[in-house]
């Protein structure tokens, strides 16, 4: 589209140059300029501005072919408005398969990650979208000094980590409620690599069996008449196939458990399914099980669940 102000004739530009020249040399007067001719004005309607991420996040993300370009556009918006940039980044993470954790934890978003109330949940969501390999991702978060920690660290030094954010991959094993506030029993899981041999192409199986029998009769001078009989049976079975090694991620228990407070009953938080949980660590409590000695009694960490996210099946490294 052409803007009306861009349709000035060439002479207008020349006139401006002449004016500049006049300013420096003082030998051209404005009254000598040729009469202005009206240029044809294009009357088409002005193009609508691109959708604001805060107003229409779906329309914003739809303009970019992949999450990386979406994040780059969000970064450009950040220069105009921090709030608008953050809204755009959230849209990129929540509405596209965003897995670029390095872009998220890069310098451009550092201040937003520090002060925005939803930053920790956004990081947890990206970790889930990257497959939920929490132990590996936490190492990277700590390299970038993001204060989100492992359940293992928190349990080892409860006083140090009390009130801080922890992230864990876990399943809900049980739930009890007191009034409107349920508390779930979480069993922590981790992803482990398992090697398997999968057959490739055609295989061959053979099965052979044979029975040979005989009967011999006769007589010798020494022994007189006699008969000798018997049978031999052989069987062979085998198979030939080509296999290829496969490595799969399986979710396995770490042996750690925790209690997680929920804000309210949540039917979407299903039992026996893995989730990436972001929670506040509220310390540890003595349990009723175990030995009689309080010093050796089992302790269980208590968490306040902030958000939870379903991990993607494919893990991004």
């Amino acid at each position: 589209m052409r803007h009306p102000s861009w349709t000035l004739p060439t002479w207008a530009l020349l006139g401006s140059i002449a004016a500049g020249c006049g300013a420096s040399h003082s030998h051209v007067t404005w009254t000598e300029a040729p009469p202005r001719e009206d240029a044809p004005i294009v009357t088409s309607a002005p193009e609508a501005p691109p959708p604001r991420a805060s107003a229409d996040p779906k329309a914003f993300t739809a303009r970019y072919p992949n999450p990386a370009l979406c994040e780059a556009a969000a970064r450009r918006l950040q220069a105009e408005s921090r709030d608008e940039g953050w809204a755009a980044l959230k849209a990129c993470i929540e509405l596209t398969p965003f897995t670029q954790i390095r872009a998220l934890l890069g310098g451009a978003w550092a201040e937003d990650l520090r002060v925005r109330p939803d930053a920790a949940s956004l990081i947890a969501r990206v970790v889930a979208q990257r497959g939920g390999s929490v132990s590996g991702e936490l190492q990277y978060l700590q390299e970038r000094k993001i204060p989100i920690f492992s359940l293992a660290s928190a349990v080892e030094r409860p006083d140090t980590y009390k009130g801080r954010y922890v992230m864990l991959r876990a399943r809900v094993a049980d739930q009890r409620s007191e009034g409107e506030k349920p508390t779930v029993w979480l069993v922590e899981h981790t992803l482990a690599s398992v090697e398997t041999n999968a057959p490739v192409g055609l295989g061959e199986t053979y099965d052979t069996s044979s029975i040979t029998s005989g009967d011999l009769g006769g007589q010798t001078q020494l022994t007189g008449p006699g008969r000798l009989g018997g049978s031999v049976s052989t069987q062979e079975r085998g198979s030939v196939s080509t296999t290829r090694k496969h490595y799969d991620n399986i979710s396995d228990e770490t042996g750690r458990e925790a209690l997680g407070r929920l804000q309210g009953a949540d039917p979407f938080l299903e039992a026996r399914r893995d989730y990436v949980f972001l929670a506040r660590f509220d310390g540890v409590r003595l349990t009723s099980g175990g030995t009689d000695d309080d010093a050796e009694a089992p302790r269980i960490p208590v968490l306040t669940i902030v958000s939870y996210h379903s991990p993607q099946a494919l893990v991004v490294y």
């Binding site: 520090r114 002060v115 007191e178």
Partner: protein
Amino acid sequence: MKAILVSLFLLGSTPEATPPAIPPDALAAPPVSNDAPTAWACTVDTLREGKECVFESDAAAGASSTEQDTANRKLLKDISRALCTEAVGNARDGRTDATLISLCERRYVTAADQCGLGGSALIVDAKGRFAPGARACYRGLSSVLQEVQLMATVAAPCCECAARKGCPGAADRCYADVSQQQTSPATLACLSERCEDACSVALPSQSGASSAPTARERQRSSRSGSASL
């Protein structure tokens, strides 16, 4: 000079520009923890039902007092009859057993003697949650109720019969001995003679007849082969 000093003082006392407040959920905000009890707190209900639980309550610790110690123990002793009656009734499908309830109460009251907490805190808070320091007390009471339930399930019919038929070692001792299979030979002989049906679960099985095959026998029987010529 005084005017300058006053001006400097006023300048010094003007509030500095405060940085924008960081929301409590932000990563840069100070740690926030919730010390309130969860729905998994140990209560009289979890004690009754034998469920796993955690020790947390709203009861604040205070200065030790003898009155509090006595009050803590009394509080738990007062509910002994209700807990024992329920434990026995549940194990015997609603049937009551005065002897066993009495045995339960005596043991429960003895266990409740360790529930004073030295008077340093309330043993249970307003919602019936046991204090964090009450684990030993709770486990003692829980152990009594579980043992009584075992006795009610395993030994009660046998011990009732033993009492009726005048076997030695009846009453309280019978419940403990039969449930732990520590019955004396004389009592055992009497039970097997006079209460065989009622005590079939509790009596040791007869050795010898119709015993299961031993591992060696099984191994021998599975070995087979044939040859022909």
